[in-house]
Amino acid sequence: MSVVIPADQAAPGSVPASGLTARAGLGDRGFRWLTLAAGLLVLVILVLIAVSTSQQASQWFSTEGLKIFGTKWDPATNKFGATPFIYGTAITGVIALVMAVPVSVGIALLLTEVVPYRFARPIVYVVDLLAVVPSVVWGLWGILVFAPWIQHTYASIGSGVNGVPVLGNLFGPPTSGPSFFTAGIILAFMITPIVTSLSREVIATVPTIDREGAYALGATRWEMIRGVVWPHSQGGVVGSVLLGLGRAVGETIAAALVIGSSPEITSHLFATGYSMPAVIANQFGEASGVFKSALLGLGVLLFAFTIIINVIARGAVERSTRRMRGA
């Protein structure tokens, strides 16, 4: 293959210019510029957003210094510490992953390894339908139906484990319908489709010949999955999980509705909390001065976090697919 390429690459410059190809060349050039402009536009917009929001947030960064990572958020006394929101975002993200990942990877394995293709299609459709539900609908369902329904369960679990060392700290009172845990559950529903479909695609790249090789050596289906599918797709699945985390971290309106809206750092998962996007959505309308700058600053931090998570995730997915092609 590598022998043929140089001739191909030399082609555009050296083709004799007939009228037809000259016009085609013009079209090609135009096309190239157009696509390049489209690609650059996205980059430019992204950079402009980052620059202008950081600029607006600079007042917060400069007046508070390291206190931006303080634990108290109280606009009435001009205290703007971001830690309660970072904490809430992290906790709800972790809860969402703990619940969504086993289910998603389970569905992905079901679709690729267990059910025949023609039954797999409808299941894929149904899972993808979850992604179609708008996040405000998830939030409203969460606050009007789910939270009132589950708060009794929280309360009885809370009183049951009250005083027990670790469990009491995690699940003990105070309990509330809208809480870290409720937000985590809603986010889990929301990220299941993306984690499922990405994991499914990664798992589907495992070469059939490897699977059949394992079967030929007498492996059961489980042994085949553990010995062939998992090592092959590990990195990609981790990547898809991180992409799901990126979505959970940035989710705004659903979290704002069900998280309970109180900026507290507590180990109690059934207590009310707050997350970064939720506080921006809730408090932006009446904010001014440093308050507004602090909310924009939270946006900048959130932007940075999601970029980091996404870069790591893309890296993990790419590394695994590259290794797959190499294998």
Binding site: A76, T272, G285, A287
Partner: protein, 354 residues
């Protein structure tokens, strides 16, 4: 650039409105063309205070029948958003529940902003205690309740001011706003003014409430929490409290009287306040025997100097309507109309727009 675009949009909208009007005039040849040559016309865009939203919507509907050539859009979004939109020049007027705070004055440097008070309203102390139909509260007790110093309904402090009322030992659940809001701003301003030695949480559109407080979005969200939670108490705008069918307490005013929230008690409060020359005032903790103490107000903010004569004309017409015939819409919407003294001052100020 911005102004140019606004103008272009305005002209385009004007063209549409005018052509629509002439069409209507053609089709009903008998009555149409009275709007004629020199009446106000154009589009007014506004955003801000969600407290005003219901009133603005009703007023816009009615105003359309009087001045069909003027289109008014009121976007809501909160007082802070309204003020920053006005500063950015994207709206013609802004609704705000409080005067421009000192942190924002720089945004309006070099320009004179006129305040037009348009609406008054009480904030209720709505509660959910089955069997308790009348309850009295003092500012100090309210401050202690909202700082979680009073934790149960049969606390001696509540009992002392409610002789003869059987209070249960139910735990008090606080219902507060999740979103930042002019309602929170004015409620906390009330506590800071009326119970200065007790209230430690300050006054702001967002308060750091004691843990365990249940937060709802909008007045409707807080009303929903109070409605659904026995033992709950929340501060809810009068209109929303009425709509949700909540029970509310009477609150002790500056004169020592316990007053049930109503639109007339709110107007009485506004009538007793001292109004600054720029028409700013705070209606909370107003003097007067019949004044409801947790009363708040909302202004429409307008630049004194307008870029175009037609916008100035349209603004005068619309604000004139809000301060005149529009005030009659208020009681039905559970808002209080402006007292005559303030209304007259606001009307007199209209001529400054130009």
């Amino acid at each position: 650039m911005q102004r140019l675009r606004v103008q272009q949009v305005t002209t385009a909208a004007l063209a549409i409105v005018v052509s629509g009007f002439s069409l209507a005039a053609c089709s009903s040849s008998g009555s149409g063309g009275s709007g004629g040559s020199s009446g106000p016309s154009g589009t007014l865009n506004a955003s801000g205070s969600s407290f005003q939203l219901l009133f603005q919507q009703a007023a816009i509907q009615q105003f359309r029948t009087i001045q069909p050539n003027v289109t008014v859009n009121y976007g809501g979004g909160g007082s802070g958003k309204g003020r920053s939109d006005l500063a950015a020049g994207t709206v013609n007027f802004a609704g705000s529940d409080s005067p421009i705070p000192s942190t924002e004055t720089a945004n309006f440097a070099g320009k004179t902003v006129l305040y037009f008070p348009v609406v008054i309203g009480p904030i209720t102390m709505s509660y959910n205690l089955p069997g308790v139909t009348s309850l009295k509260l003092t500012p100090t007790v309210i401050a202690d309740i909202f700082q979680a110093k009073i934790k149960t309904w049969n606390d001696p402090a509540i009992k002392a001011i409610n002789p003869g009322v059987t209070l249960p030992s139910t735990h008090i659940t606080l219902a507060v706003r999740a979103d930042s809001s002019g309602t929170t701003q004015n409620f906390s301003l009330f506590l800071m003014t009326a119970a200065p030695s007790v209230w430690k949480l300050g006054s702001s559109s967002t308060i750091s409430w004691p843990s365990g407080a249940q937060a709802g979005s909008g007045n409707g969200g807080v009303a929903q929490i109070v409605h659904a939670t026995p033992g709950a108490i929340g501060y809810v705008d009068y209109a929303d409290a009425k709509a949700a069918g909540l029970t509310f307490a009477s609150v002790q005013n500056k004169a020592g009287q316990y007053i049930v929230p109503s639109t007339t008690a709110a107007s009485a409060a506004a009538a007793g306040v001292t109004v600054a020359p720029d028409l700013t005032f705070a209606a909370v903790w107003a003097p007067g025997a019949t004044a409801y103490p947790i009363t708040y107000q909302s202004w429409d903010l307008v630049y004194q100097k307008q870029s175009s004569a037609s916008t100035a004309k349209a603004l005068k017409a619309y604000l004139g309507y809000l301060l005149g015939a529009g005030q009659k819409l208020l009681p039905a919407l559970n808002y209080a109309p402006l007292p005559a003294s303030i209304d007259a001052k606001a009307k007199a100020q209209l001529s400054k727009i130009g």
